[in-house]
């Protein structure tokens, strides 16, 4: 009997677990170790953050779902890996600390034949002084609980506006190297929409603050699409929306400190500036969850298998090189660790070889540019691809992963909400192919103009709304779940 252990039960981990279970026989065991008791459809958190949805609508309990499906479930956070076992022999194992209320703090270990690291990121609020809802002065929509808090704070701001007080709303990235600009983009336009619905839009000054070099970069070096007889940059596309909705923008800004009502940021010119706010939702930087790794003799090998940012090294080319020498082939294809062949990483947990957007540095040496996003559709597709590899290896069908699942070879469909409402809502529906630009295969813009498009409209909102229910249906293993694509 073999055992596949998956660390993390988010979008990529849950997808990997579900397909590992489907593709392995009952003689093999699939176990998920995740600190959360609930699964969260993260893309809908922005609607929780404006009061359009409740946490119950975007989450469900994992334990009964995994029990029904025959997937082992341990509510715990992984602490360390021993990919060689220990000096008493045995198989590789993972050490974890229970987070369930009945066993909180207790330590356990579990041996594995294959391990898929899908821990997602640590929300690194500590990297920016004064950032975050717990110990800082900003709100967040990164978790359902954060989003509920954001909604409550937004309601207070709206009440003040109704009472005649003008309010400054600041939304964007809270660190010079943050990623997930898309979530902040969705949130600022959902807030703008809600202010219009509440009849207080004229009382609000909305400002976007971001580490992007230009609007519409999104950490993927922007995109180009055909529009009105032109090949148009996402810069024009995004600026158009910001100008139309009356949202001011601050770009090339590395936020480094928040005080009550004031954000401090550095620009690429090296200037240190401030911006006042009454309500701020700023996305933190992401890092690995702090997993340690030990060799058979107990020596610390964390730096060998994890990148400095805490994400697991896989089969990417991590050689340091300038932007001009980056290639699509640098990106991993199999997500297999080069040293330990039974160790894989999916979703945000794998270390990208480099950014996608051109790195920019301020005169003071601060890197102010977005980290590469690895969420949503690619995250789930990579989870499924690795599940296929691992189950084939476990079943003895292959010795080595076949590859072919590079982010430079796959596309992504993305729907970014710009306001909720069955007849009044809108969203940006877009596709990119490939996600990581390949300037050799697609000279010029780096992507296929036949498969890259984007438009704003009510239809996009309908699609995002349908996807919400569709992916919850799939994640709950309802009949035919595996027919629904990632």
């Amino acid at each position: 009997m073999g055992r596949i252990v998956i660390l993390g039960g988010g979008v990529s981990g849950h997808t990997a677990a579900s397909f590992c279970r489907k593709w392995t026989g009952k003689q093999h065991e699939v176990v998920v170790i995740t600190p959360n008791s609930k699964w969260n459809w993260i893309p809908s958190n922005i609607w929780v953050g404006v009061g359009r949805m409740t946490t119950e609508q975007v989450t469900f309990e994992l334990a009964p779902i995994y029990k029904k499906q025959g997937i082992g479930y341990i509510q715990a956070k992984a602490v360390s890996l021993n990919p060689e076992g220990n000096d008493q022999g045995g198989k590789p194992f993972v050490t974890y600390e229970f987070t369930s209320p009945d066993k909180a703090g207790q330590i356990g270990t579990l041996e594995y034949d294959y391990l898929i690291n899908a821990t997602g990121p640590k929300l690194n609020f500590e990297a920016t002084e004064g950032l975050g809802p717990d110990h800082g002065h900003s709100v967040s929509v990164c978790t359902p609980q954060h989003a509920v808090h954001a909604s409550e704070e937004l309601s207070k701001v709206i009440e003040k506006m109704k009472a005649g007080q003008r309010q400054k709303i600041l939304i964007g990235t809270g660190h010079s190297a943050s990623t997930c600009q898309g979530a902040a983009f969705e949130y600022i336009f959902n807030v703008e929409h809600e202010l219009r619905v509440a009849g207080v839009r004229e009382m609000a000054d909305l400002t976007w603050i971001s580490n992007e070099y230009y609007l519409g970069d999104f950490g993927i070096a922007g995109l180009h699409l055909r529009k009105g007889g032109y090949v148009t940059s996402s810069k024009i596309f995004a600026e158009s929306l910001f100008a139309e909705r009356g949202v001011r923008w601050i770009l090339r800004a590395g936020v480094y400190k928040l005080e009550p009502g004031k954000v401090h940021y550095e620009t690429l010119d090296g200037e240190k500036l401030t911006e006042d706010f009454d309500f701020a939702m700023l996305i933190p930087s992401f890092s690995g969850v702090g997993l340690k790794a030990f060799a058979k003799d107990g020596s610390d090998i964390t730096d060998t298998i994890f990148a400095p940012n805490g994400f697991l090294k896989v089969d990417g080319d991590y050689t340091k090189k300038p932007f001009e020498e980056w290639k699509a082939s640098d990106w991993p294809k199999t997500y297999q660790n080069p040293i330990y062949k039974n160790l894989f990483a999916v979703g945000i947990a794998f270390a990208p070889p480099h950014a996608i957007s051109k790195p920019m540095q301020s005169k003071n040496g601060t890197v102010i540019s977005p980290a590469p996003p690895r969420t949503g559709m690619p995250s789930a597709m990579i989870g499924k691809a690795v599940a296929r590899t691992v189950t084939n290896m476990l079943n003895g069908k292959i010795d080595q992963p076949s590859g072919g699942h590079s982010m430079a070879e796959m596309g992504a469909a993305c729907v970014a909400s710009t306001g909720a409402g069955i007849l009044s809502g809108s969203a940006v529906a877009m596709t990119v192919f490939p996600i990581v630009p390949d300037y050799q295969k697609y000279p010029g813009v780096g992507r296929s103009l036949n498969y890259t498009f984007g438009e704003v409209g009510l239809a996009g909102h309908w699609i995002k709304h349908i996807l919400h229910y569709l992916f919850l249906y799939k994640a709950k293993f309802k009949p035919g779940w595996f027919f629904i694509p990632e």
Binding site: A243, E244, V456
Partner: protein, 54 residues
């Protein structure tokens, strides 16, 4: 803040250099029948991307 044709275009302002949608374009974004058509078109495009990526 309702958009009006040309309202936000002030020469030499940062936003003047970008494309501002006309009232017609903005209206069509929430026109039910046009959006039903776009819904079909967008779904087809997304299915192609999904098919190419799997």
């Amino acid at each position: 803040m309702t958009h009006q044709d040309g309202e936000q275009i002030t020469p030499y302002e940062p936003s003047s250099g970008t494309a501002i949608p006309t009232n017609h374009t903005v209206r069509m974004r929430t026109n039910f029948f046009y959006q039903v058509f776009r819904f079909i078109v967008i779904n087809i495009k997304m299915i192609i991307i999904i098919w190419r990526s799997h």
